[in-house]
Symmetry: C2
Subunit: 394 residues, 2 copies
Amino acid sequence: MYSTPKEEIESRISALQSLMRQNGFEGAIILQRADLFYYSGTGQDAHLFVPVEGDPLLLVRKSFERAVADSPLQHISEVKSFSQLKQSINGTGHGIKKLGMELDVLPVNNFRIYEDLFPGTEIADVSPLVKINRMVKSPYELAIMKRAAELNTRMFSFVLEVLKEGMTEMELSAHLEAFYRQNGHQGFVRVRSFNQEVFYGHVMSGSNLAVPSCSVGPTGGPGTNASMPQGAGLKPIGRHEPVSIDYVGSVDGYIVDQARTFYVGEPPEKFVRAHNVAIAIQEAVVKRGLPGTAAEELYDISLEMAKEAELLEGFQGYPPVPFLGHGVGLELDEFPVIGRKSPHILQENMVVAIEPKFIFPGEGMAGIENTFVVTASGLKRITHFDDSIQVVPC
Amino acid sequence: MYSTPKEEIESRISALQSLMRQNGFEGAIILQRADLFYYSGTGQDAHLFVPVEGDPLLLVRKSFERAVADSPLQHISEVKSFSQLKQSINGTGHGIKKLGMELDVLPVNNFRIYEDLFPGTEIADVSPLVKINRMVKSPYELAIMKRAAELNTRMFSFVLEVLKEGMTEMELSAHLEAFYRQNGHQGFVRVRSFNQEVFYGHVMSGSNLAVPSCSVGPTGGPGTNASMPQGAGLKPIGRHEPVSIDYVGSVDGYIVDQARTFYVGEPPEKFVRAHNVAIAIQEAVVKRGLPGTAAEELYDISLEMAKEAELLEGFQGYPPVPFLGHGVGLELDEFPVIGRKSPHILQENMVVAIEPKFIFPGEGMAGIENTFVVTASGLKRITHFDDSIQVVPC
C-alpha cells in the first residue's frame, strides 16, 4: 500500500497551523475522509487533532494497524470512545478556546457530540482554511494527478474501440467503467458539497446531454431512475449526434476531470463550430490563467467569448451554472471556483478543471474539459488526450 | 422515466405527519436526496415542506420541469433563492414553533442558514421519524426490491461465468460492475452515515477478506489506495480460497444487499464448516424474525450460536462489528439495526439484510448475506440465489 512521504505531511500540517494561527484557532479536529487523508496519510476511521503549535495526534478508531502503516505521523493512538478521544486531546495540555472542525460537512447531530465533549470551547469552521490549504498542490500531488491523467488518456483511446451506433449510454458506461476498474480506479469519486452525488461523471448522447437535472454541473442527464436522476440513461447512441464522455480519472486518491466529444459518423456543422468556440475559450483562459489573476476574470472572458460567438444561450448549461471551472484534487469540488463572484485569486500550482460547454436544448452539447495546473506562464495541461472531436465510422 | 404512484406518496406523507403530530412538530423540511425521493417522488434539487396538517409543498431549485414530471404532489413551485423559500413556506400560513429537519445529515453551516431564515423557530431533528417511517416498506416498494434481487441473482450467475484463477479482485469487480451497469444499476449506492463511503460493496478473496478497515461492516479489505482503503484490491485470486462477492443490487432507486462465497477448486473443510454455521444462524434468525421480536434478540441468537460452534472469535469481523444485520431500502444503512442495544422491535414489512460472517485472520472469511422481509411467519427471502458455496473448477 502506497504511503504519503513524511515531508509532505509535515509541510501540509505546518501550512494549516499557519492559517490557524492567523485565524485564532488553538486547535483543530480533522475528521472528514479526504481532509484526514491529506493531513495524516491515512483514510482509516480516525480523528486528527492538530494543535496550532507542536505535533498533531492521530486518534484512530478503526483500523489502528493500518493507520500506523499508512501514516508517517509520530503520535498515533487507538481510541475506542468519545471520552478517550477527549482525554487524549485534553492530555496534550493545549488550552483550546477556539477549536476548528469541518462545519461545511459535519452534520448537526455529530457536531453536538463535540460541543458536549468540549464545554466552554467555541467550535468554529476550519473548512475554509483546509480548502485554501488543499487548493495549492505540491509537486508530489501533481505527479499523482499526472498518472490519473494518463489513465484518462487510455480510457479515451478505449472509447474509440468500443463506441458503436445503437449501444445505449449505459452500455458504453459499463465498458468504460470496467476499463477504469481493471486499471485500478478507486471507483468512488468524492464530492464535498451536501447532497451531491457523482458516479464517475456523465456519459451521454444527443438530446440527453440537454436534459436538465439536480446536478451542479453544466450537464444533467436522465440517469436510470427518478431517485438518481443524472448521468447516463437508456438512450441508444445514434449517428451524427454528440456523445460526451465527461469522466473522472483517479489514481491513489487523486482525481482529474476531463471531457471529450465523440461521434458515430460526421458531426453537424453547428456542433463543430461550437466545439471550436469552446477550444478558443480554453486557449484564451490558458493564456490568462496566470498567478495573480482573479478566478472570476477567466469566467468573464468565457462569457464574453460565448456572447461574441452568439452562443451565450445554453453556455454552461440550460439553465446555466455560474462557473467555467473548479478545483480538483482529492475531491471534485475543490477551490478555486472559476465562476461568478469567486473570491479566489489564481496561485501557482492550483489545479483547475476548465469546462466550456454549449447546450443545445433538445439536441445535445458541444464543448470540452481539461484539468490544468496554474504556472508562471499560464495554465499548463495535466490531461492530454487530443482535444479534437473524435469520429468513429458508422 | 418511472414515477411513484400518488397513493403511495400520500400514504407516506400522512404517516410522517402522524409521527410529527406525536412529537410536536408543526412542520418539516425534507432535503436529503433519499428522503426527498421517498416523500415527493423526485430526486431533483428541492426542499419539501411538510406541514403537520394539510398538503406538502415541493419547492424546486433544479430541475423544475423534471420534478413536475416525477412527482404526483399537487403543489410544486420553482424557487431560486432562500428568501423565496422562506416566503413560500411562510405563505402557507402555518405557524411553526418547532420545525423538523434532517439533522443527522445536514451540515452545521447549512443548518445555520435555516436558523437565520426562520428566527424564533426551533429547528429539531426529524430524521428519527423519517427513518421509522421508511423502515416499514409498502407492497409497492417490496415489488421494486424483488426486481433488485432478480438483478442480483443474475449477477451471481454471471460470477460463475467469469471467475478464473489468477484474475485480480479488481478485474473480477470490473466484470461484475459492468454487468450491473449493462442491466440498469444506478451505480451510486446511498449510505446515510457521515463519512461512510460504499462502492457497490466488497469483492475480495482469501487473506484480503480479513484485512480490517474503516468500513462499518464485518469485512474491510485493502481497497486500491490509502485514501479509499476498503473493498477490492490488486490481489490475484488463488485456488481453494474464499472469494466473497458482497454486492448491492439496485433497481429504480431501491437496493438489496447480498453476499455469496465462490471458490476456484474445492473449499477447505474449516471454511465449509463455518459456512454451514452461518447458514444455521440464518435459519434460526429466519424463524425467530417475527413481528414483535426485539431486533437485538436476533443478534443475541447469532452470538450464542457462534459461541456454541466455537467460532465467536472473528464472528462479524476481526475486530467485530456489533450487529448481525441492518435495514435496506433506498439506503444501505436503514433502520432497523439488528445488533447490540438496538431499540428496534421487528414489524411486518421491515426489510433487513442478515449477514452472519466469520473472519479467519490472515486466511479469509466464511458466511452469507441475504435480504429478507419480516412477515407474520418469520423472515421471508427477497434475495434468491443458491445459498451454497459455489465452486468453479480449477
